[in-house]
């Protein structure tokens, strides 16, 4: 993996998505800080982070445990607010938005995949995926909700599992339901916090394949991962340490999940033959 200097990324990012305006990033963070105050202790989870992410980008955020990745993702997902600094999403300062506007934004523009899935328990996969459409304005008819949810579940490879409850699904399957839910309202920005955190390598590659396909179709993706191999599927890798950005590099030799799955399938086929 060869890294490019950070200052060249804006151009490459713009090139990689021909439709986007190079001058206005979809995400702009300026001196963003998040400090937790628990009793007497102050935890500086995110310190002075400034970042631009352009439409069409595919960013991996890496860093050791406790380096502030999830905190940053929650702010990006408009679930949490920064202590200081500004977050501009599509040229709008998020802190100026009302609770109602934020809800609409989360519903229409953002898709969030949680590290811990966060599916509704005792609710079928299909209904979990329908949930964002339920809160959409204008109202989406129940039939449309149903058919769109089926479609997205198909896309993540969960056809036939629609009526299973989360506790009847494997970790990887739950992860896919969460991804389907994040995608069902056609977001412009997909935020995924360790989407492969507790999956085996094969399932991880499959999910990265899905992400690469989504990214190719124009969706901007920001994801958190601990693993270098996973980050290698992304276009850009941001390393964090102690709440600061340590490095921000382009990934020139990207791995293609599609190719690797094909290779894996071949290898499996060969072992089958040799047995």
């Amino acid at each position: 993996m060869k890294a490019l200097p950070a200052h060249t990324r804006a151009d490459t990012g713009a090139l990689s998505s021909p439709g986007a305006t190079p001058l206005s990033p979809i995400i702009r963070l300026a001196s963003l800080c998040k400090t937790y105050r628990n009793a007497e202790v102050e935890v500086h989870a995110v310190r002075d982070v400034s970042l631009d992410i352009y439409a069409g980008d595919f960013v991996a955020i890496m860093g050791s445990s406790g380096s502030g990745k999830s905190t940053l993702m929650n702010i990006l997902g408009c679930l949490d607010t920064p202590t200081t600094g500004t977050y501009e999403l599509a040229s709008t300062n998020v802190s100026t938005l009302s609770r109602k506007k934020l809800a609409t934004l989360r519903n229409q523009k953002l898709g969030f995949v949680f590290q811990s899935f966060n599916l509704l328990s005792r609710t079928s996969a299909l209904e979990n995926v329908e949930l964002p459409m339920f809160y959409s304005h204008p109202l989406i008819s129940l039939e449309t909700q149903r058919s769109r949810a089926r479609e997205v579940l198909n896309k993540v490879g969960l056809a036939g599992r629609e009526n299973h409850w989360p506790n009847q699904l494997s970790g990887g399957q739950q992860q896919r339901v969460a991804i389907a839910r994040a995608l069902v309202n056609h977001p412009q920005l997909l935020l995924a916090d360790e989407p492969t955190g507790n999956l085996d390598s094969r399932t991880s590659i499959e999910i990265m394949g899905l992400f690469q396909a989504l990214n190719a179709s124009g969706i901007t993706i920001v994801m958190v991962t601990h693993e270098l191999e996973i980050a290698a599927y992304c276009k850009r890798v941001i390393m964090m340490r102690d709440g600061r950005v340590l490095s921000d590099t382009m990934n020139v030799e990207r791995r293609s999940a599609e190719d690797e799955i094909a290779a894996l399938d071949d290898a499996e086929g060969n072992t089958m033959k040799s047995v």
Partner: protein
């Protein structure tokens, strides 16, 4: 327009669906939570039904006294400090009665009354009943038609004729299924010819059976049966309701004068005003009904607090769920509605069950107590309205608590 339909009908309908699903998940808990409302509503409904029934019954009895009736009773005569009861004093005379109809212009009819209890023999049977002496106007004053035969006339009264009107129960005892008209009964060995049969009237104000009696001319009763010179009471019919008060005053003045009472002496008679009794009875029974309803509606408040309690528990339990919904783009309003609808569904379903149980309980009580239960549609509508309001009122605080949750805090909630 489309937006209006969507936000007023479709979205709340969808939200109710979620709320109902959540309730279905905890059937027993929902039932137990609604129990307060069920008990409250059913007891209010039952109480009001029985109260209304009792009032209607008493009003019916008061009305059955007759039209615009004043009853002048001989007062309490005290003999050595012993109160011998109404009608026992020997003060009211036939002349008093004549004076009333003659001198009080608003009085349209009177019936001097005497009564005694005696054995009646007829058709070979023997029956103890009350013998009441009245004037020819009595049945008209009491608004009490005959079921067959005729009433005795003024002439019968004048000549103290030995004729009698018989109550249905007495007739049944003496003659069974036979027609008593034209038959002779003997009282103290005096033969009376039965010329009329009363219609059924049921229990009177004092609870005695008005169908078990023999009505004869008061003159006959006084001369031939008792030998009494004094009346028990005088039934007075006044021209209309508005004049009753005034007529009562005039009769009081007249009788005081006739009985030569000094201003410092109290009346030796008393006058019952039918309208006053009716008003008093109505207001007392309304007050009692209201009081019972108020007491049982306390349990509605308790039920409401129960709902609030469970909703608070539910919001806490489902903090993560709420966090997920908010993270996915639910508006505060959506969450507020979801929990409000849950609360009102609990209370309104409780109200519905309460109405059913209340109606059943009302009928049961009426069956046992012998009072008709009158379930008014107003009380049902009111019970529904109140249980809906309780759901909204007590559900609002928990629902708002849920709606105002911060997404990240809710998601992190353990």
């Amino acid at each position: 327009m489309r937006f209006l339909i969507e936000s007023i009908i479709l979205r709340p309908a969808l939200t109710s669906l979620i709320a109902l699903r959540a309730l279905r998940r905890h059937k027993l808990r929902s039932l137990l939570t609604s129990l307060g409302i069920i008990i409250g509503v059913s007891s209010v409904i039952a109480m009001v039904a029985v109260g209304n029934g009792a009032r209607a019954q008493i009003q019916g009895r008061v009305a059955s006294l007759g039209q615009n009736l004043l009853t002048v009773s001989a007062g309490n005569r005290r003999t050595g400090g012993i109160n011998s009861g109404l009608g026992s004093a020997s003060v009211l005379t036939v002349q008093d009665a004549d004076a009333i109809i003659r001198e009080v212009p608003d009085v349209v009819a009177i019936s001097p009354e005497v009564s005694t209890t005696a054995q009646v023999i007829g058709n070979g049977n023997n029956w103890s009943t009350s013998i009441v002496g009245e004037s020819a106007d009595y049945l008209q004053i009491r608004d009490w038609p005959l079921s067959s035969g005729v009433m005795f006339t003024e002439r019968d009264v004048r000549i103290a004729a030995k004729v009698a009107i018989i109550g249905t129960k007495t007739a049944e005892q003496l003659f069974g299924p036979l027609d008593p008209i034209g038959e002779t009964v003997r009282v103290k060995n005096i033969p009376f010819i039965i010329i009329g049969v009363l219609s059924n009237k049921g229990a009177g104000m004092g609870g005695m059976d008005q169908d078990d009696r023999l009505i004869i001319p008061y003159t006959t009763a006084m001369k031939r049966l008792t030998g009494e010179k004094y009346l028990r009471s005088i039934n007075v019919q006044v021209v209309n309701q508005e004049r009753m008060e005034f007529a009562q005053q005039q009769i009081t003045a007249l009788l005081r004068q006739r009985h030569r009472l000094e201003p410092n002496q109290s009346d030796d008679f008393s006058i019952l005003n039918q309208k006053e009794i009716a008003d008093t009875v109505t207001s007392i029974s309304s007050t009692i009904t209201l009081f019972l309803a108020a007491v049982s509606s306390m349990s509605l408040v308790v039920g409401g607090i129960g709902i609030m309690n469970i909703m608070l528990v539910s919001v806490t339990e489902r903090t993560r769920e709420i966090g997920i919904r908010i993270a996915i783009g639910a508006q505060s309003r959506d969450i507020l509605f979801q929990f409000l609808i849950e609360a009102t569904t609990l209370s309104v379903l409780g109200g519905l069950l309460g109405v059913l149980i209340g109606v059943a309980a009302g009928h049961l009580v009426s069956h046992i107590a012998g009072v008709e239960a009158i379930v008014s549609s107003t009380s049902i509508a009111l019970a529904f309205g109140i249980s809906f309001a309780i759901g909204v009122f007590f559900g609002f605080y928990p629902a708002r608590k849920a709606a105002n949750l911060n997404p990240i805090d809710a998601l992190r909630y353990e």
